[in-house]
Symmetry: C2
Subunit: 425 residues, 2 copies
């Protein structure tokens, strides 16, 4: 079945917000095994919206729409879909009650215009919204002699994403008798084209499960997707393929696997936390060029407090000396961006914070501050634990992008902690 995404919102057309819903849903429907050839963004103009719905339902079997369900939207998305499917709108009491109870829960009063959100096309499946007020709906029916489906979800990602997972995904799965299961392998230290070249024979011969590498910011992810009558079978198929890939040439780059989008997004930091937790170890950081990004990234993960004790942001050399105890001579003779300094920083953070392991970074994120000897993108790393210290220097190539150098530095620092825990460095 072919599925396409239509995102509704003037704020998307004006570029005020980035269309993360589109990417999220695209990823999910690809993992469910649907083909997708178009995505559209359209404003909340009734004529253009109706045209987009008609066109989408002409070229695809399923349209998934986000946005245009808010209390000030005059319901135009729902009305447009109802019109194309030839349905009347009715006021749904159960939906009204659900919206009212949401307002009670957050302790605010329901306004009159929220009631319009309880207007529903006849025969629609209603997805109650635990994260906001606008319910999602699914409408199905014959158009031009073929069964067509429209799924409508609210626009805010904090509502759209959980509602997709909890409501739309089971609905979509019910349209097929097969179950889909996806497993991600996370690779570090190899590029997408490198991984693709090695995997090409497997990718080409594999129909079920399918194998596809994706480039993420600082890593490559291989997604294995199997389709079967039973979830257990699909899992077995994925894991057999994973074993085969692990045994091959890319195996040495695989540091983790995941089978949920949230785990996949956080695979590096969650792997580090998991490995620390398994050893009952605590963590600290000493950060110069990243200025707190490493510890902040660890703090992103709920429950990180059992491993994250804290960290020292030592942007200025004075802080490196006074708080972390980097000797003045080291700064004078080797400079702040040196493995010597990184080593003292890691040892200092471990001692000051009192953690079992500490990682340090000091580098030149640019755009200024680079020299021939120490170019922009040069970063020194240090690890300190009970066995001693480890240091290394990386030269990140993204010379023009301060922000990217800092994000790559953050990922590499976490990778070094993982390797140290594995006894690899």
């Amino acid at each position: 079945m072919i599925c396409e995404i239509i995102c509704v919102g003037t704020e998307l057309l004006l570029g005020e917000i980035i269309n993360t819903d589109g990417a999220f849903i695209a990823r999910e429907i690809a993992a469910l095994g649907f083909s997708s050839y178009h995505q559209t963004v359209v404003g909340d103009n009734p004529d253009r919206l109706r045209a987009a719905v008609r066109e989408g339902l002409t070229r695809s079997d399923i349209i998934i729409m986000t946005g245009g369900l808010g209390p000030t939207c005059d319901d135009i998305t729902k009305v447009a879909v109802a019109e194309v499917f030839g349905r009347q709108m009715y006021f749904d009491e159960a939906t009204r009650d659900d919206i009212e109870s949401f307002f009670n829960r957050i302790g605010r009063e329901m306004t009159e215009n929220n009631l319009s959100q309880a207007m529903i096309p006849e025969g629609a499946t209603i997805f109650y919204n635990k994260w906001g007020t606008a319910p999602g709906i699914a409408v199905s029916g014959e158009i031009g002699g073929k069964m067509k489906y429209a799924i409508l979800l609210p626009g805010p990602p904090a509502e759209c994403e959980p509602m997709f997972i909890e409501c739309a995904k089971p609905y979509l799965e019910s349209l097929s008798s097969d179950t889909i299961y996806s497993l991600n392998l996370h690779l570090y230290g190899i590029g997408e084209s490198g991984a693709e070249q090695i995997l090409r024979p497997i990718m080409e011969e594999s129909v079920n499960p399918t194998v596809a590498p994706y480039a993420c910011e600082h890593e490559v992810r291989i997604r294995i997707t199997a389709r079967s009558k039973s979830l257990d079978d699909a899992k077995v198929m994925c894991h057999e393929m994973a074993d085969r890939i692990r045994a091959g040439e890319v195996g040495e780059y695989i540091y983790s696997e995941s089978d949920t989008p949230d785990d996949a997004k956080n695979s590096m930091v969650m792997t580090m936390i998991r490995e620390l937790r398994a050893r009952g170890m605590t963590f600290a950081s000493a950060e110069s060029c990243t200025a707190g990004m490493i510890s902040a990234r660890v703090g992103d993960i709920p429950g990180a407090s059992d491993v994250l004790l804290g960290g020292i942001v030592s942007y200025a050399n004075d802080v490196k000396m006074k708080t972390l105890g980097v000797p003045e001579e080291v700064l004078a003779s080797h400079g702040a961006v040196s493995e010597e300094c990184a080593s003292y920083m890691a040892k200092g953070a471990r001692a000051v914070i009192g953690s079992d392991i500490a990682v340090s970074v000091t580098g030149i994120a640019g755009p200024g501050g680079g020299t021939a000897e120490k170019p922009v993108g040069m970063v020194c790393f240090g690890i300190a634990d009970k066995s001693g210290t480890y240091t290394e220097t990386k030269y990140f190539r993204s010379k023009s992008d301060r922000s990217k150098i800092r994000r790559l530095t953050t990922a590499h620092a976490m990778m070094l902690v993982i390797k140290r825990l594995h006894g690899e460095i």
Copy 2:
């Protein structure tokens, strides 16, 4: 004139990458005064691509396309556009030389498939690409008796964004005899709907300049856009409108203004840095629930080192006591999430790091850890400077979203520093 965006790429349809090009260009064309009613994402299938180009040029005057220009794309985007405009493709020697010199500059060898990037539709304007290999192009001509324009840019944001600014923007400006100037007013402490309600009369009566409020993550931005024959006139028109808005009811919420996208994106942190710099003051942070996000955000800005000395990430209570000197009795009697603790944290960071001012945050980001008395979303803030300390408590409502609570906390901490420097708290 009506302008629409067509983004080409299977990786967009599969959700592997988020369509930031679409949002960036949408914002830019809105600021240039073009109307935009559609955005489309289409894969690199020649038939569907040609259909998308035809459809776009039917309903809009200008299409801006990104992606599908890479060496492995077989030129299908350029070929599709050439076909719709009825042009032949030719091999452009100057473009070949430009691609070759790019490879020389980065010290890599040009491969055979890069030569296909020098194929250009006849009569096209060529935008040489300083940031990569694929040139951009603009094609114009009559279709169905009307002048139509197609602008093609490479897909990677690091190429697309600068090429839009340096090449496509002047080209688009040349299509109109007017100059456009936009000024952003940045507001904190008022919601979008509140600002809109107050501004509604001005918004409705204003045609040139136009006035529109936008909700950003933690603030509201009012964009004033003027169109005139001269840039100076447009600037004057915007500033007159800004003065009028400042004099009105929303005036008290305005903390800054900006007239470039980059400044707008970083307005809060750049305002804080500017205010610190103007006073020759240095900055430090003591962070619990944000775990380094505040200092990392300051470190995002190139040249932040003249104000940012460093910070202490004190996630564990032990670090709050040992490194920041929060008395054990304070933690025992008031808890870590208390204004008392925040006060000691700020004083501690100021003393340990040796900065002129320090800000502290300690709160409950969730999802766990909340109680009836101290719910998830409760954050205590502290400021320490030479005049003493200031503390306050905020209750952020985004109860379900740990990440959002931490981002709002980061913004509020910076806002408190700005207010403290202004003598408002």
